[in-house]
Symmetry: C2
């Protein structure tokens, strides 16, 4: 019926639901910009032409009309808010399609995490697609909440919003033809399989791509990106909160006049406050044009390129039959968003939402913090000759390993240059706990704890005395995950992240100030000013980044790739 109505609207036999008049349409097919009217019926574009009448009409007064933007790879959990909250912030800046990889929540909840994200994003005014996390757990050196095998993945194959396989981080498993890894690749044969191949090149890259991996978002140099393009990969140019690769990559592309059709934009991880301030893809567009990329080319990266890379029909262009996901732009330099239409409905006007929406219920994702009763000496250091210490490097995610004698450790703890750190398995109450030492964090007195701890998201806690360590752990059990700050047994502040211990379901107006307050409080407790008190902790349990990490299984030396014995 709806197709018939669209045909009738196109022919002028029927009034459209909505006509956008006086639009400078960005044509991602021909590369042109031209003045036209867009007639919309049943949420789809019925026609781009002139002389159409609509039940509603909007005069765009010569503003630019682009297809809704696509963020080609993002981890929603990294924003620490649930899909509804995250999506609205993306939508505000013109993103109408998200390719998400729920890697974090799946490490906590397994397939139920994927189901939660699908359910929580259902019905939102964003096309919310999922790439199934390929590496849960990320390594064999930690205990995550679940193991997502190929068999369990198969349950999601018929889900229409599951497109393909998420970033395959297990490069050695791929090129070593690990049977479990190949089973996952086979399961998604013919679909888009995202890659994760930082610095992989030469023969290794050829093997990795030949195994069926289609995209990569880890290039940090132009040469790396070019090699991946040549190998047939789509390169997702990343501009997140921490990893900012756009300038380097696109400068080279522009200078070398490379074909751009296999490039798209993504954020990977971007904080909510950063999105709120500048958007995601909109920020990429601004940077790209500033580098000298023609605006329509940049918009191709933001729209049709991503849609073609992920095989999304009816998305990414202003043409009949396409979804009426549209962004009205004031200009093609700052890409100021004047309005956003999703399925033909005006959702955003001048930065404000037109429609009030209720946020989703927590559902099955709550109650994810399960810890075995802690022994009285749980945080005691084991008797050793020398102790390996994780030393933070300001402004970097890598750490250094320092080995200290028992006497040096006692002195460091006493004078405050060392702090105790612990990672406690929090999914299945196994009682697993890794205890170690941390240098360079600061913290005068008390404890800091979080359940956001990549990639297994166990509970990580740091402090100067065992009593506060206990108290911080108990507080996170009580609030079922989040951030907490404890001093002398008193909780100074908590930011609950009750969804899998990773996400808040508060609106940003409440969440962002609460987060700011926690950061300020932590710094007042003596955490070094050049360190993010919680994000720094959240990477200390990731046993793939040099040199020394702590998991629930103990101290792990990444250089020698084994536990410290």
């Amino acid at each position: 019926m709806s197709k018939q109505e669209q045909i009738q609207v196109a022919l002028g036999q029927r009034k459209a639901d909505l006509v956008l008049k006086n639009a400078r349409v960005i044509d991602v097919f021909t590369g042109e910009i031209r003045l036209a009217e867009v007639a919309i019926q049943g949420g789809r574009i019925a026609a781009v032409g002139c002389g159409y009448c609509g039940a509603q009409e909007a005069d765009l007064q010569g503003r630019y009309l682009a297809p809704g933007f696509v963020n080609a790879h993002c981890h929603v959990e990294s924003s620490m808010v649930t899909p509804p909250v995250y999506c609205m912030e993306e939508l505000r800046w013109g993103v109408t399609t998200l390719i998400t990889d729920p890697h974090e929540i799946t490490n906590v909840l397994g397939g139920d995490g994927v189901r939660y994200m699908l359910a929580a994003s259902q019905g939102l005014p964003v096309n919310y697609y999922v790439q199934l996390p390929s590496c849960v757990p990320a390594t064999p050196f930690e205990h995550a909440g679940a193991v997502l095998t190929a068999e369990k993945m198969a349950e999601f194959l018929e889900e229409p919003r599951v497109l393909g396989l998420g970033e395959m981080m297990n490069y050695p498993g791929v090129v070593g033809c690990d049977e479990q890894v190949l089973a996952k690749l086979r399961l998604f044969e013919g679909r888009v399989i995202d890659g994760h191949a930082p610095a992989i090149s030469g023969a290794g890259l050829q093997a990795y791509v030949g195994a069926g991996i289609c995209t990569d978002h880890e290039s940090t140099s132009f040469a790396e990106a070019r090699e991946k393009l040549r190998a047939g990969m789509a390169v997702l140019v990343r501009e997140g909160s921490a990893s900012k690769n756009l300038r380097e990559l696109l400068s080279g592309v522009i200078q070398e006049r490379l074909d751009t059709r296999r490039l798209a934009f993504c954020t990977d991880d971007k904080h909510l406050a950063d999105i709120r301030r500048e958007g995601t893809v909109r920020h990429c567009l601004r940077l790209a044009v500033d580098l000298g990329m023609p605006p329509v080319t940049a918009i191709q990266l933001a729209t049709i390129n991503a849609a073609q890379i992920f095989g999304l029909r009816g998305i990414g262009a202003v043409a009949p039959g396409y979804r009426a996901d549209l962004v009205v732009l004031d200009d093609l330099e700052q890409f100021q968003v004047a309005a956003v239409y999703k399925d033909g409905i005006c959702e955003v006007q001048s930065g404000a939402f037109c429609i009030a929406r209720a946020f989703a219920e927590l559902g099955s994702a709550a109650q994810s913090v399960h810890i075995a009763p802690l022994a009285l000496d749980a945080f005691a250091l084991p008797p050793r000759e020398t102790y390996p210490v994780i030393r933070l490097v300001p402004g970097q995610i890598v750490t250094q390993r320092v080995d200290l004698t028992k006497a040096q450790v006692q002195e460091g703890l006493a004078e405050g240059s060392l702090r105790k750190i612990a990672v406690i398995e929090r999914h299945h109450a196994t009682g697993n706990i890794g205890v170690g030492l941390l240098a360079g964090y600061g913290l005068t007195h008390g404890a800091v704890a979080t359940t956001v701890a990549h990639d297994s998201h166990n509970l990580i806690v740091v402090g100067d005395n065992d009593a506060d360590l206990y108290a911080a752990v108990n507080e996170l059990v009580r609030v079922q995950g989040g951030y907490t700050l404890v001093k002398d047994g008193e909780v100074l502040g908590s930011l609950p992240l009750p969804v899998a211990g990773l996400m808040s379901n508060q609106p940003p107006e409440q969440f962002l100030p609460a987060l700011e307050q926690m950061l300020a409080l932590a710094h007042r407790m003596g955490v070094a000013q050049d360190i993010d008190p919680f994000i720094t902790l959240s990477f200390l349990a990731l046993p793939v980044i040099p040199e020394l990490r702590l998991t629930d299984m103990g101290m792990f030396d990444v250089t020698s790739f084994q536990f410290v014995s």
Copy 2:
């Protein structure tokens, strides 16, 4: 297993089946050309790099290496040879992928025609894809051999080589929301639906595209092609034997610097002799570069663009995981083909086939000419006041209608300016026969007949006396279809086309001289020199081209769109 071997080859852990050394690789992703080696394993490209060893190695001596070409839309039957013969001629010139529309044979045999083409093309060294004919019969004003309904089409949905729906010629049916037409469009929703929209523009084009139609190959002006690109269609630039649109379309594209990603090459209908002489896509490449298109851009049209338009994974690029369908080119001006590899096997070297292949059996496609016994007065003109006459226009496919008195007709038949023409239903022996008059054909004495008669492919015969008309019909029943020439009851020559009355299964070395001989003989019998004796006849039964046509149901006036009463 084969994927593991490819990975091992890429890593240099295993010898490749074949390594092409010293190749100037055409990179359709970045637009570059670079010197490299291509390692091939199990018919797939394992790696593009350097330092590879192979069980076989070939030194390309710096020649260009492009992905195998794609002919994005062709009717194999128009070559009058079976798929094996046709494919080998395409392959010789570098085409390794064909998107075919078996519209002609399906008009004769229905679904069995599709099955025949699929079977006859099975195992050939060409990726042979089928778009299911959407309009069988083409019009309600004639009787074809079959009616292909949406229900019957559904039988082919699971066939891996059936990609989508063939050219939707019923524009009025689409925009008029004819239920049968919409049922076909719905059946192929989400797949590629080819269009056929000559001169359709404005609101009508928007409606037609919005209905779900993805491609068009009928543009004859740049403005028409540009409007279709803007509307979101992929434009298949046609360069066939009769319709040559490339120069007009690509001149505009180059001059206006349009984005080229939604353009590909096709032939629609190209005669075997023309293919043999100059190729199909290779000829397009030569013309495009001659117009000033950069060679790599032209090769993108010939390869990755077509693959992306039709959603063909693993086709159209020289990169790991892609099929090792490759063309070695001496140059990027004439596009002289030095060698062709299909699935990593060298099939063509310096224009000669490396592997001898047997041609397919006729199978179920033989015995397609079924005619009811003709009455003694079958060719008698009905008694009328005035007679409508089809007048040929030299060099054009359109005809003119002339109305003559009974006396003028008798005089014309006597002096030889008029000839009798008949279209006889030949599929189901219904006895249907349309008889009319033809001017401008020539033919001194005797009869010319063919079973190739678009689109229903009934038997069409023209002659100066009823006895020879009878004899010609009988001869085509005897040989079960083809071309024949008869004089004084004697068959002067026949070219059997036993496959559906449309195709020969002879090799080109026998078929082409036989065809030449028939043409020469027809001209010696007096057929006008500026007329192709058989192809001209084959379009006289097509009731969609102005002004006057003859079907098995009678004289049809295309201008008034009704039968002459």
